[in-house]
Amino acid sequence: MTATTADARPPELRLPKRRGVELSLLIGAVLISVYGYASVGLARNDAVPPDVAGYGAGLGLLALLAHLAVRLRAPYADPLLLPIAVLLNGLGLVLIYRLDLETPRDQAATTQLVWSTLGVAFFIAVVVLLRDHRLLQRYAYLSVATALVLMTVPIFFPAVNGAKIWIRVAGFSFQPGEFAKILLAVFFAAYLAANRNALAYTGRRIWRLQLPTGRVLGPIVAIWLLSVGVLVLERDLGTSLLFFGLFVIMLYVATGRTGWIAVGLLLAAAGAFVVGSLEPHVHSRVQDWLDPYASIDAGLGAGQLAQSLFAFAAGGMLGTGLGLGHSILIGFAAKSDFILATAGEELGLAGLTAIFLLYALLVARGYRAGLALRDPFGRLLSIGLASILALQVFVIAGGVMGLIPLTGMAMPFLAQGGSSVVTNWIIVALLIRVSAEARAPHPGRTETGVIAPIVEEDPPDIGHHRGTGR
């Protein structure tokens, strides 16, 4: 089952590892973050913040440790993943620090830095301890069991701002649903990898849709329904939308049946309509989306979404400059769900585009690793993890910018939120791991360079490489 990277390979097949590139990019990412931090201070107090050196050193140290872990344990990993994560996390810290200036009684940057450190620690742990991503395949059912438990626990804790998705222990609150994302992606990947042929080629055919047998499809649909159901109970609609999309994408990639997309979209539309019209919390969100200015017309002032749109508009093309916007007017979720509005106001469309491109690059690199890998589990896992990022960015960014109804979710790495930042670091660690596997030279593999994947029709059974390159 395992083909470790430790296999001896001919020296002439050695690929560029590009760890030096990664280090240079990391230095750039840290410098950009430090520059942002200093520029907030200059804009607000005409002085560089006194702790800018500490901030830079802290972020730099985290980046360096992560880099060393990658260099030692995943030398062939994609060199873009870590710098993008560091840059987004650093930028997030700058934005939260900047918003802290408006809320003297609510300081979040330090806590976020602690969580980021924890996230990097998890990153290092994953990179160092997980020698081969295929190990995870063994723990598919443990993963899904843990995920369901994690998602169920918050039901027994009080709701915060209308959603029961938090666990509060000793002053720290954390959102177990965040971790469940990874665990569920692992389970989906393992199950679909093991059963994908059965899913694709057996069962009855109805019109143009090939239905798999209930025995194969049943368990995964049950688990998926359960998780989405729990989230709906907890009113965590962003995450349930995410799980839905994740499931449909992974099922489509695993089976290659376009029909699943159609079914998925139909179900999503039906579900969204039912929930949107029946559930009051969601209904108000949909109303907000349809008319963000209703509360203004009613003489009640601007609502949260209208304030968010005002912030984006105030940024325009080039932004007001860090520290010079007024996105704090958005109110209580400014540092979490709405952090992108601060980025949009102070960095403008230019900065926002850059941030979107960073996410796109992260997603693209995950997809590329999936393409280059040959084991279906690894492929599905990397596609799943990358899709989590892509869907999450779309759902939250589309929500705060009035493209789709707003659902509370954290912008990966940018937003305030401990569980979120830790989860995202683990996702990046897993992507590092799979990309290292994808880019590592393999014995017997026809070397076609790093970029071109091996194009093959996958063998029905997993675990053996019967390379039949084109």
Partner: protein, 487 residues
Amino acid sequence: MIRCIRRAAAFCLLLLVALLVNAARVQVFEADALDSNPANRRTTIERYDQPRGNILVGDESVTGSKDTGEQLAYERTYRHGPLYAPVTGYASQTYGTTLLENAEDGVLSGTAAVLAPIPLWGDLTHSRQPGGDVVTTVRKAVQRAGYEGLAGRRGAVAALDPQTGAILALVSSPSYDPERLSGTGSSVTDAWAELNRSAGKPMLNRAIRQTYPPGSTFKIVTAAAALDAGVVEDPDEETDTPSPYVLPGTTTTLPDEARGCENASLAEAIRVSCNTVMAHLGVEVGLKGMVRAAGRFGFNDDDLKIPSHVARSDFDTDMSDDQLAQSSIGQFDTTATPLQMAMVAAAVANGGELRYPHLVDRVTDHDGHTVRRQGSDTYRRATEPETARRLQRMMVDVVENGTGANAAIDGVRVGGKTGTAQHGVDNTGTPYAWFISWAQNPDSGRPAVAVAVVVEDAAADRADVSGGGNAAPIARAVMEAALAESD
């Protein structure tokens, strides 16, 4: 599987494109509409995030700004708030701006184009300049003399430099402290409610925004009309006027309070304030002539700005002869602001040439460099120079030998005209006491000041109310202050 991954990737790309297009929609195409949404507080916050420029009287600033550390950072403060409120108005975070604070808001808040180092600078950089200062034409001593002269009674004073149109004083009483309205919160809303409830209407700028029947002070306009129209050739020649005078087309008689008005000359009629003579003269001049004459002095002008808008002073353009007769002595529908009547006095003092009244001498940027200077503009030629000379002589006679004796100043040439305006249903209200005047130092070739004073609730005993008794002493104090400062 590969193909599916590529398609899934294409789907992700589609999501990215949707986000970018949507971002451009919000941040570029809809940005202007969102920026100008009234519920968007950014404009307000930016407006108050720097200290406001100041309004100066002489070289002393009568305003200030304090940083409250709140979201709307800078609040307006006022020195001698009640004294200068009719000049400055208020700049409130809750209720907006009025008067100079309103008219010169662009300069004070730093958005005015004249403050930018190069044209379109602000548009290019999205930046604002520090607030500029507005230097008024008001003289501290003159303003104070008017304010203390009224001593809290309801009324107003307007003083002009006849030769330039510069406003030397603009007093309204009772007054209020605009600082009470500066910020936000319940203390401001409470102050607002209290000021609006107050019977004395302290926020009403009586000098430029309240009109009163001008009473006998309007006889100067009628006299000017009669002289300019040639109805009166010689002011000292007897007129053919009965006393009392039956209003044309009616059986109503118009009495005189003064004695010896029957067939009195124009000069005599002005000196002792004969109603009959002046009403008769107005009818003889005719509606058209009277409307033109009043218009030359500034009546019926909707667009007078100093730069704050001045309420329109009215002389009806469509009247019967009996109404015209009453209007010619400043009754019926004739109304005037105190500033308007100061303009009448100023036109006479300045040889018939009326200068445009203005309150702002110059505007400077934050560093004190003048960026705009108000020149002296002719408003209209109110009368012929010869007419003005004759009117001057008659007005001097009022002070030296007539009803305006209380305005006399030793060694100074003072011309004046009293007025007691009836008002209320059947004239039951306490009459308004008016006095308009001008003064010239004997060794000076030019008049120093023209003043109009109105006192609303002049005295408890109605019989004592008269322009000469109540308003003239205030005018004298104002003129003395202006004379002391001139030359």
